[in-house]
Structure formats: structure tokens, C-alpha cells
Symmetry: C2
Subunit: 371 residues, 2 copies
């Protein structure tokens, strides 16, 4: 997507294909800075500290991280070490493991001297594939919006609520949940987005608001508590979120708080759709609430917050809680399939169920059986 | 309740009954400062800027504010002006109007020279009554906790989730939702509290965490997004919240986001109770979602946040969002009676329904008819 008229991706090769650069998302929306990743450790650190975040972008960065690890040590041991280091960064998103599975077998079959170049090229191909997938999600999601608009039968603004950031910043380009919104806006539909701030890391207030503004899409930031009230009062026509992992039953793991919005959508008859690229489907699991491991992060993300001190124009961290308070920080929750109106994928829209997913991904059955 | 072993209330008469003092809650948990209110305007400002907050404490402060207004101008016109100034501070809580209704007719019947002293004395009586009401809520809520513990049949920690601050800081003393928790803790029950931080003003992270710590009650601060996940995983035995206004059907208006927690409680079979003093019942209204006016506050409360800069030990405000972002800030939502397991009042526990409320407040019917 564009920033001030210039097209960007969230990561891109530099140094004639010997390293990659990223947008450091921990500084947005206050500072726009890029950062070069020249080593496996730099890539792993960027994922773990959320300089890059969002399931698809984590997968793409991990793919390049694996390549950078092979530049340092192309042996089988080096490959194993790189894989383990990257898998340890974030436990919930399934794209990370998927991206590594896509690259490792092919690379392992090669002589050590060819491994780095081959892995780097495959990481690039995986990025291009992500962009194509997300644009297709946007097209199918646009169909959902058009259908809902037609059913509503009036011309007022079409209000979409989204949680966290599943925009182009969460992917290589386009985004997942925001791709249909960009498509609708570009098609001249009068969309307005309710942006959940998404505590504790405020990816909505910081990233979704920033990228929607850069593209010119009308939006309002709200606290995560507000969505139910808006839905009770007819102010939400559609909820779309992304997902970090969808299990084969259609249960959807996404940023903590998504489940609460799905409950409110159900209680008020608001359609609740989840946008996902095929690689986020985990065919091995059936019960998302029971089986998906939920990352618990540093409580400091709850007790402290970073923002811009407008007096000095500098970023500062302030403490919100009493000194020494105990806090817990669960990063994701799982929305049961029964609350999901539909899944928007690059292959089309389906019911959130094993039958629905298998209708679009008949090959998924084999992966599920093999797991 | 106690701070460092010393008993406090949230407001108290000073200057031989010519003014009152409050704890400035906008500075908690980082600074503990008291503030004197010597005028109607000071009282109105303290309510509007939330130096005092919580429906019962707003009512008590408004009562003293009315008295201070009468000290400045004891005429009927002065009385009217004071009433209007105070009613304009916060539109949602019904205690404010209730407190004024309790005092105005009696004072208006007096000669001007006696009005201030009479109003001041009645404000003090109203405060004592609030303390007695809240302690009775605590006793009845303790019964609910004992029953749930007995039904569970094991000795592990009893986890209670609460939203916002309905503790002693929200009342004159004891609190509403927290009164049963203090009673249970004092009775030796192994309670643990999940404290919703309660964006945008963070009354949970700032005030509930502070007062629970001062009393020694085990607790963890969580983001507002986390409650559904905890309930899905059996980590919540009971939800108790306060309320700013309960209509006669049992619909409950409380801090924005309460409705989302009630939905999650229902979806997971977790009991959801609301603690309320009789004066928060609005007998005139029947449909809370449709009829209760929801205060919309300054968007700056969403886009900016105040905390302690630990480097300098000073309070600072930082901006969380991109510059110039649009935000909306709805302060309350309404939880329909169908999601409320029971109402805990000073007269006992009842079903969230007109029949339930009339069982405890048979006189309520007259007020409803008269409205």
C-alpha cells in the first residue's frame, strides 16, 4: 500500500539479496523508521519484540531469518538451530511454522554452498505469494460487503468494526481483515471503520489508525470496551478480524478480546467474518479453545505504556498501575466457530466448519490426517 | 476502609462544617492528595473532571455541592442554579439526581438563613446512609460467595472478576461491587480478584488495584480484552460489577465494556452479579438499552493517557494515536437484565427483573407510577 503516495511493502530484500529491511512497527504511529536485518538473531529479535507482527508477516520474516541463519552456518546443525530459534519467538501463530516447513525440506536437499541463496529466493517467493493471497482475500471480502450493502438497501455509511491490526502492516502487503476494506474504499463504497485500540499493545490505535489514515479511509478509534454498545445501537454493519491460527473445525484464534466482539455480534445479529490466508489453517487441531497454546507475554505490557510526549516530541513509557502490582498478559483468545458467520479466504468465503474449510481446501484433509 | 492502617472515607467535612475535603482520584495510584471544596463550582468541577467518581460518591459530593451553593446564595434562584450546575456535570448516574431530590424539598421549606446548615447536615446524613447501605451489600454479597463456594466444593482460590472501580473509592466507604470481596477476604476466604484495567480512564488499573493492595486482597490487573479467555478456561468463579443506573426491568447501566463481560459470563456459565444501592434504581425507565442516555466524553481520554514517568517520578500525559486521529468515547453501556444472574442490594439479593426489584423495594412501584 502507499505512504504519502509511495508504494511500500513491510519487508524487502537489501544488499543484493544478502539481508532484508523492515518497518520498525514498535515506533509507529509516532516515528516511521526502517531497520536492517543482517542475521538470524536480528530476525528472531524483530519477531519476538514485535518490530514485525501479524501472522503472515511473522511467517515471511521467519523465512528470511532462516535464510540469514544459513548464511552464518549452512550445515544441518545450523539449519536446526535456526529453526529452533525462530520457533521459540512466538508460540501461537501457525504461519511461522508453516513458512519454515515450506522452505526447510527443499533447502536441506541442497549442498551447503547453495542453501543460503536458495532459502533467500524461496523467502522472496513466499512474500510474493502472501501479497497475491491477501489481494484475493480483499476481492472475496468486497463481495461480502456488497452483499450486505444490497441487503441493507440504503446508501448511508457502511460501518465495519475491526480488532487489532490485520492490515498491510500485518502482512507483506494488502492485509487480511483490512484488504476488503481497502478494496471497498477504492471501489467508492462509503466505508467507515471502528478501530478497536486493542490493548495491551494498542495495535489498533497505533497501526490500524495509521495505515487507514495513510490510505484516506474514514475511521474512529474506540476503546476495546465500546464495540458492544455500538452494536446494540445499530452502529456496526460488519465485524472483520484477522486470525493467527484457525483450526479445522473453524475455531479462530486471534488477538485477545476478539471473542468478546464475536459474542456481541451474535447477540445483536451483526455478521462476524474472519479473514484468513490458507497458511493460517492448522489442520492438525480440531478444538481451538482446548488445544491452541495461548502465549502469555510480559506483564509490563499491561502495567506500562509507550506514547508520544507532545511537550518534548519524544517517545516515553509511563506506568499506569500502582508500584509492584501483579498483572497477567494473555495475548490471544479463541472464538468458537459457532460465533463466526463466515471465513474469508483467498479461495473464497466459506462456513466456519471442517466441511466449509474442506470445500475450499480439499488437500487440507491429507495434512490433517498426517498430523 | 484503611490506608496504611488508618481509616479513611472518600469525602469528609472540614472547617467546622463549612466545606468538605476529597481524595483527588485523578492522581491515584501515583500520588495520594486530598483537595478542599469550598464552593459549588469546586464541587461541580470535582465531579465533572472525575476527581470524585462512582455513582454513590458523585451523589454524596453533589449533596455537599448543593449545600456549598446555598452558602453562596441561599435564595430559591440560587438553589435552582446550584441544582442545574450539578445536574449538568454527569448525565448518566442516577444517584446524582436522587441525592438532590432527597435534599432540595426539605431545604426549600426553610428560611434562607437556615438553608446552608440544613443542607450540609443532610449531606452528612446521606453519606452515613451510603456507608450503611454498602456494608449491607457486602454482607449479602458474602452470602452469594459462600453459596457458590459451597456448590463448587473445593478449597482452591475463588476468582472474582470485576470491571471499573466500584470499590470504596467509588462510594463514601466500603464500595458496592468490592464490599462483598472485602467481607469475604476479612472472613478468611481465599479470594483472588481479576481487575479489568477499564479503558479509557483505567479506573481498574489505577483505583481498584490500589485499594485492593491497600487492604491486602490478592489480585491481578488484566486488560479489558482478557475476561472472555479467562472464563473459557475456568479461571473465573464469579463476576461482580457496580452500576450507575439500574432501570426497573433490571437492565443495568455501568462502565463501558460491562456488557461484553456479561455476554462472556453467560456463554461460559459464570454467575454475573451486579451490586447496587437502592438509590441507583431508576424506577421511571423500563428499557435500559433504549432509554438511558449514554454520556459521550472527550475523545482525548482515548487518544492520550496519563501515567508515571519512572525516570523523573512525574506524571506525564502521552499520545497513543497518530496525530489528528478521530476517536469516540462512550462512557457507559447497558447490560440487559437477561444476562444478569442477580442483583445484590442492601435489602438482599434478587432477580434482575421488575418483580425481583419490587420484591425488595415495594415502594418503588409508586415512584415508577409517578414518573
Amino acid at each position: 500500500m502507499k505512504i504519502d503516495g509511495t508504494p511500500w511493502r513491510t519487508l524487502w530484500p537489501i544488499d543484493d539479496g544478502r539481508a532484508v529491511a523492515i518497518i520498525d512497527q514498535t515506533l509507529l504511529p509516532h516515528r516511521f523508521e526502517t531497520r536492517e536485518l543482517h542475521s538470524l538473531e536480528a530476525a528472531a529479535e524483530a519477531i519476538a519484540t514485535m518490530r514485525v507482527r501479524g501472522a503472515p508477516l511473522i511467517g515471511a520474516t521467519a523465512a528470511y531469518g532462516l535464510a540469514l541463519g544459513l548464511r552464518e552456518d549452512p550445515s544441518d546443525a545450523g539449519l536446526r538451530r535456526a529453526r529452533e530459534r525462530l520457533l521459540a519467538t512466538r508460540p501461537t501463530a501457525s504461519n511461522l511454522a508453516w513458512a519454515l516447513r515450506r522452505i526447510i525440506p527443499a533447502v536441506q536437499a541442497l549442498p551447503e554452498a547453495q542453501r543460503f541463496d536458495a532459502a533467500f529466493a524461496r523467502a522472496g517467493a513466499l512474500c510474493d505469494e502472501d501479497v497475491a493471497i491477501n489481494e484475493a482475500i480483499g476481492d472475496h471480502g468486497l463481495g461480502v460487503i456488497r452483499d450486505l450493502l444490497a441487503a441493507r438497501g440504503d446508501d448511508g455509511p457502511f460501518h465495519i468494526l475491526t480488532h487489532c491490526n490485520a492490515g498491510w502492516l500485518a502482512t507483506v502487503d494488502w492485509g487480511t481483515a483490512l484488504a476488503p476494506i481497502y478494496k471497498a474504499f477504492d471501489a467508492g463504497i462509503d466505508v467507515h471503520v471502528w478501530v478497536d485500540e486493542t490493548r495491551p499493545r494498542n495495535q489498533g490505535a497505533a497501526l490500524t489508525a495509521w495505515e487507514l489514515a495513510a490510505h484516506g479511509v474514514p475511521h474512529d478509534v474506540i476503546v476495546d470496551n465500546a464495540g458492544g454498545h455500538l452494536m446494540q445501537h445499530g452502529q456496526v454493519d460488519l465485524v472483520i478480524t484477522g486470525t493467527d491460527r484457525t483450526v479445522r473445525s473453524g475455531d479462530v484464534c486471534n488477538k485477545i478480546g476478539t471473542y468478546l466482539k464475536a459474542l456481541a455480534a451474535r447477540d445483536n445479529g451483526v455478521p462476524f467474518y474472519v479473514a484468513l490466508p490458507g497458511p493460517t489453517i492448522d489442520w492438525a487441531l480440531a478444538d481451538g479453545v482446548r488445544d491452541i497454546p495461548i502465549e502469555e507475554r510480559d506483564p509490563r505490557e499491561v502495567t506500562h505504556i509507550q506514547g508520544l510526549d507532545e511537550d518534548g516530541g519524544v517517545l516515553r513509557e509511563v506506568r499506569l498501575t500502582p508500584p509492584g502490582v501483579s498483572a497477567r498478559n494473555f495475548a490471544f483468545d479463541v472464538t468458537p466457530a459457532r460465533l463466526v458467520t463466515g471465513l474469508i479466504t483467498e479461495r473464497g468465503v466459506c462456513e466456519a466448519s471442517e466441511a466449509g474449510l474442506l470445500g475450499l481446501y480439499p488437500d487440507g484433509a491429507f495434512e490433517a490426517g498426517a498430523a
